[in-house]
């Protein structure tokens, strides 16, 4: 799976869950600071990533996923 494939699918999840415009979901966009998520939203996002990519993201790893770029990078290494 290419990084751009992963990025496309992650972006789609973020847009759907947080109801934000696609162009706001940039590399360094923070889910909480820039995209309006609260702590429960980020838990749900991580669950959605796990579903989409068939991976498991442990809680301590989930805490390091703060931005869109973090998510893409983590998933790329995990799949």
């Amino acid at each position: 799976m290419s990084e751009s494939d992963i990025a496309t699918r992650v972006r789609k999840i973020v847009v759907e869950h947080l109801s934000v415009d696609e162009e706001k979901v940039t590399e360094n966009a923070s889910f909480i600071d820039d995209l309006g998520a609260d702590s429960l939203d980020t838990v749900e996002l991580v669950m959605a990533f796990e579903e989409e990519f068939g991976i498991e993201i442990p809680d301590d790893a989930a805490e390091t996923i703060q931005t869109f770029g973090d998510a893409v990078k983590f998933i790329k290494d995990a799949v």
Partner: protein
């Protein structure tokens, strides 16, 4: 309500009902004798003993339909069970209707919320139990608990509007809505708040909800061919209640505050009475002395005579208990029963469980405003011992200054509200 206590009036109304979204649209249809009943469309109910209910009419928001997008953003909506959505919608309507305007931060400390529910997020609990069983605990949504908790209607309304007064939610089955309004009025009387947003919300029309009430033999099952004839309080052919859904919310306000700001005052909450049956988990005692005591307590609290009551909005669920309630009402009113009118609006909208008492208090409020008692649909063969006019099949236009509204719940919990016209 109570000597020397602050007076509490109703200054805002909001409702989502099986007849319509909106108080006026519902009221117009109610008086016209329309029924909200039909075959269940929300899920396949063909395998259940009851396949009909009173569902909220969904649509684009025009012509009284309910459009969820009008009340909560899609992003927020999918995090909550439907009872919260309905409660939020009714609360928004009531707050807008009251015209509270821009409140200062200090004023918001004195505005509270008390919107309860009988069961809360039943559908969410059922769906999440399946997720847990089939896919394991890591797939349980972080929004499951805050989306199913009963007090999260009050919580959500408080958060949206910044209301920082008492935030509370009663849970007393089918008495919830009445208890919410009565208890909220008391919080104003006791100066815990100056304004309370109060009512009930319920979304029980789900497979598990219907199956559960079928199992305890509470629902009508014999009217699959004509669901609109199924809810027939006091009628000889009644065979159980018809499930409804929705929410009713009022804005209660301390009288002097409401008067000072020139608010529309619909009615005053002058009486509130409570009792317990201590008898059975789902049935009232044969004489329903608990209901009688709650009515007498409300009348005493109001400081009125029983013969001053013009209209009774009955609990009247279309079950065997209807005639038991009628007997209790007629004992309380005595000779005055012959000149009062009583109807059950559940004949039109079904039984909204925890929302019922609030929705019915709103109907009582509008009965005072418009001097009209809504009809009891499908009442073709009334009980032989009926002395009180049961408004069979047609509204009754008459002078209505004082209304008594009954709500009784599983567990033997009774709540009675008395509302009165405010002159001037």
């Amino acid at each position: 309500m109570g000597r020397g206590m602050r007076r509490v009036v109703i200054t805002g109304l909001g409702m989502v009902s099986p007849l319509a979204s909106g108080v006026e649209a519902t009221w117009t249809r109610l008086l016209a004798g329309q029924s909200g009943a039909g075959r269940i469309t929300r899920f396949d109910a063909s395998h259940l003993a009851t396949d009909y209910a009173c569902e909220i009419p969904l649509g684009d928001g025009s012509d009284g339909t309910f459009n969820a997008d009008d009340w909560m953003e899609p992003k927020e909506r999918r995090k909550v069970d439907d009872f919260i959505l309905y409660g939020m919608a009714a609360a928004e309507q009531a707050i807008a209707d009251a015209g509270l305007g821009d409140l200062t931060p200090e004023e918001k400390l004195r505005v509270g919320v008390m919107i309860g529910s009988g069961i809360g997020g039943l559908q969410s609990i059922a769906e999440t139990a399946v997720v847990l069983k089939e896919r394991g605990p890591r797939r349980v949504s972080p929004f499951f608990i805050p989306g199913a908790l009963i007090n999260l209607v009050s919580g959500q309304v408080g958060i949206r509007h910044g209301f920082k007064g008492p935030n509370h939610a009663p849970v007393t089955a089918c008495s919830t809505g009445a208890h919410a309004i009565g208890d909220a009025a008391r919080l104003i009387q006791w100066e815990d708040a100056d304004v309370m947003v109060a009512g009930g919300a319920e979304s029980p029309i789900s497979e598990i909800g219907i199956a559960g009430f079928n199992a305890c033999k509470a629902l009508s099952t014999q009217h699959k061919d004509d669901p609109q004839r199924a809810s027939r309080p006091w009628d000889a052919d009644r065979d159980g209640f018809v499930m409804g859904e929705g929410a009713g919310v009022v804005v209660l306000e301390e009288y002097e505050r409401a008067k000072a700001r020139g608010a529309t005052i619909y009615a005053e909450v002058i009486g509130y009475g409570l009792s317990g049956d201590a008898y059975h988990i789902t049935a009232p005692p044969p004489d329903h002395e608990g209901a009688e005591r709650a009515m007498r307590a409300a009348i005493a609290r109001a400081g009125i005579r029983a013969d001053e009551i013009d209209y009774v909005n009955a609990h009247g669920t279309s079950t065997m208990a209807d005639t038991i309630e009628m007997g209790a009402v007629q004992r309380v009113l005595g000779d005055a029963a012959a000149k009062a009118t009583m109807s059950s609006t559940k004949s039109s909208i079904g039984h909204l469980l925890g929302a019922a008492g609030a929705v019915e208090a709103i109907f009582g409020t509008l009965a005072i405003r418009d001097n009209v008692a809504p009809p009891t649909l499908n009442l073709e063969t009334p009980p032989e011992d009926a002395v009180i006019d049961l408004a069979p099949k047609a509204k009754v236009e008459r002078r209505i200054d004082t209304v008594l509204s009954n709500s009784f719940g599983f567990g033997g919990t009774n709540a009675v509200l008395i509302l009165r016209r405010v002159d001037g």
